[in-house]
């Protein structure tokens, strides 16, 4: 299994945002895509999730052109949690999570006993089991984010893409989510997430991909990537690198 870009350009309405990128993402890792606003990290993720087509070049999945891969098969192998989600009306939490099983069900969408078990398990894992009979539209933003996470987890894919999953969350929920993702990664899932917080990425992820102006600048372990040179070059920021006193991972502290 692998996800890669080959001379890939992606953009909107004729504007190229990701420019001729070559990138192979390592399998089985917890990967963060980093970079300043507008660098193309979310755009790249959207192309990997087939929300955006390639303008030129190709994205590859399992050695095949991702955009020609059978839709239903891809939905069993690669799941996306978009950044902003609609608020579906009149749908209960358990029904929404159950839609995560739709790539596996027959065309009428009837759930098997196993499907029901997986749905229940994912609701428990994300702490949404108690909310199962409530309407999604009546939940708080943070609760709703966890319900959507439960849905993509019910998709049971080896790869999981997340677009800034922590953006609208309180700090405690952010930490909780990062722990959950770490645990999923330990169970064998490859996780690729766009993050804003560099220190959060360095602490929880084991592979960082740094982009600037649509181009790949650095990739590798947090140790190798998170340096003052990188911060200066990519974010135009003067910063020192220290050790996180709790986890021992690198951490940046901004200079005046």
């Amino acid at each position: 299994m692998s996800l890669s870009a080959h001379q890939l350009s992606v953009g909107y309405h004729g504007h190229t945002i990701v420019k001729k990128m070559d990138l192979t993402l390592p399998d089985g890792r917890f990967i963060a895509l980093l970079g300043p606003n507008g660098c193309g990290k979310s755009t790249l993720l959207k192309c990997f999730a087939r929300i955006l087509p390639a303008m030129s070049g190709e994205a590859h999945w399992q050695g095949q052109n991702l955009h020609h891969y059978p839709s239903k098969q891809l939905a069993k192998e690669l799941a996306l949690l978009p950044q902003t989600q609609p608020i579906p009306e009149g749908i209960k939490v358990k029904d929404l999570v159950a839609y995560g099983r739709s790539p596996y069900t027959g065309f009428w969408g009837k759930l098997s006993t196993q499907d029901h078990q997986i749905v229940e398990q994912m609701m428990k894992q994300t702490g949404t089991y108690e909310l199962r009979d409530q309407l999604v539209s009546e939940l708080s933003g943070g609760q709703r984010q966890r319900v959507w996470l439960a849905m993509v987890l019910a998709q049971d894919t080896p790869y999981l893409l997340l677009d800034e999953p922590t953006t609208y969350m309180d700090i405690n929920h952010q930490v909780e989510l990062m722990h959950q993702l770490q645990a999923l990664n330990k169970q064998g899932k490859t996780i690729i997430t766009v993050l804003h917080d560099i220190n959060q990425a360095a602490r929880y992820c084991d592979h960082l991909v740094v982009m600037k102006a649509g181009e790949l600048k650095y990739q590798g372990s947090p140790e190798d990537v998170l340096t003052s040179t990188m911060l200066k070059e990519v974010f135009s920021l003067n910063a020192q690198i220290h050790r996180d006193p709790v986890s021992g991972t690198p951490m940046c502290v901004v200079e005046d």
Binding site: Y12, A49, R50, I51, L52, S71, K72, Q73, L74, A75, K76, A79, L80, P82, Q85, P86, P88, E89, G90, I91, D95, L96, Y99, G100, S102, P103, F107, W108, G109, M151, V152, Q155
Partner: protein, 333 residues
């Protein structure tokens, strides 16, 4: 369990209501007196010499069957459109399909060089299709990320007005046909005969079955396009298939009885209110409620100006227009 019980009892209640209204429709407000018992006898012991029996089987029954199927078609077309656009105000009459279909039919039935070139139902589908395509382009629902509810409805209103104006112009140019076209524009079941029914039911039935088959993918589409794609739905295919079904449903209904509005707007809301958001359940329910509503409107259409007939479309507009205003006011567009 209580949810299932509630659904089943509501469903039985609806079917019973449908049966009673159908029976009532067969005898109510007939110029030649027909009684409820006559209706039953016409089926059980038909007598060729009894005028009441002849009226029931030759005039009332095809009219009733057409009304039932027209209602089912328009209601499911509305449900599919609301599902595809995720817009509660979407309906064939709101988004220009009715007006476009009417224009298509007016063109082939009045203009000499088009006369007979296409069957009226094909003309209705083409007209409706072109109008809807224009509305979609103007309302920009096909663009990535854009889903502006108000804009889509405004585009629908504009295109409907344009089509209506063109239809009137065509009708004025060909005065001989004008009266027929005007009746037909108002949507009336008064002229529905066995002939109408025979031309109508095959397309209608195929489209209704098709509508049921796309119900599961409409469910997933309610989660938004990004999520639907992520869950393995082929968006382009689903949208094209859904649009084609809408055009077949509306085209068949409109070419049978003329332009009847508001059924497609109101009925899906009632179905959802009663049975929830699941299209696998609320689509078939919408078909039953649609059939019920149009049959009721047809029965009343004979009562309002008895012994004359009022078009059923006018009766439905009386119920539908206030409901539309209620929906607009309830939601922030």
């Amino acid at each position: 369990m209580s949810r299932l019980f509630r659904s089943v009892s509501l469903g039985l209640f609806l079917c019973l209501g449908l049966l009673l209204i159908s029976w009532w429709n067969l005898f109510a407000w007939s110029v030649v007196p027909v009684s409820g018992a006559d209706v039953l006898h016409a089926f059980t012991s038909f007598n060729d010499q009894t005028i009441a029996h002849r009226i029931v089987l030759d005039l009332r029954l095809p009219r009733l069957l057409t009304a039932l199927l027209v209602g089912a078609c328009l209601a499911s077309a509305g449900a599919i459109m609301q599902g595809l656009t995720r817009n509660p105000l979407a309906a064939p009459s709101v988004l220009g399909v009715n007006a476009g279909a009417a224009l298509g039919m007016a063109l082939v039935s009045t203009l000499p060089f088009l006369y007979g070139a296409l069957s009226t139902s094909i003309a209705a589908m083409l007209g409706g299709g072109v109008a809807w395509l224009l509305v979609m382009l103007l309302g920009s629902t096909w663009r990535v990320g854009a889903n502006e509810h108000g804009r889509l409805v405004l585009a629908g209103v504009a295109i409907s007005a344009l089509c209506a104006a063109l239809t009137k112009a065509v009708v004025i140019m060909e005065e001989d046909q004008a009266a027929g076209v005007m009746t037909w524009l108002a949507g009336s079941l008064a002229d529905a005969r066995w002939q109408t029914w025979q031309a109508f039911w095959p397309v209608a039935l195929i489209s209704l079955i098709g509508a049921l088959l796309i119900a599961p993918s409409l469910n997933v589409l309610q989660l938004g396009e990004d999520n639907a794609r992520n869950l393995g739905i082929n968006l382009l295919r689903s949208k094209l298939l859904g649009s084609l079904l809408v055009l077949m449903l509306v085209g068949a209904a409109i070419s049978a009885v003329g332009s009847i509005g508001f059924v497609g707007l109101i009925v899906p809301h009632i179905a959802r209110l009663m049975f929830g958001q699941d299209f696998r359940l609320c689509l078939p329910v919408a078909m039953i409620i649609g059939a019920l509503l149009v049959t009721l409107a047809d029965t009343l259409s004979r009562a309002v100006t008895y012994p004359m007939e009022t078009p059923a479309g006018a009766i439905l507009a009386l119920i539908g227009a206030p409901f539309f205003i209620y929906l607009v006011r309830k939601r922030t567009l």
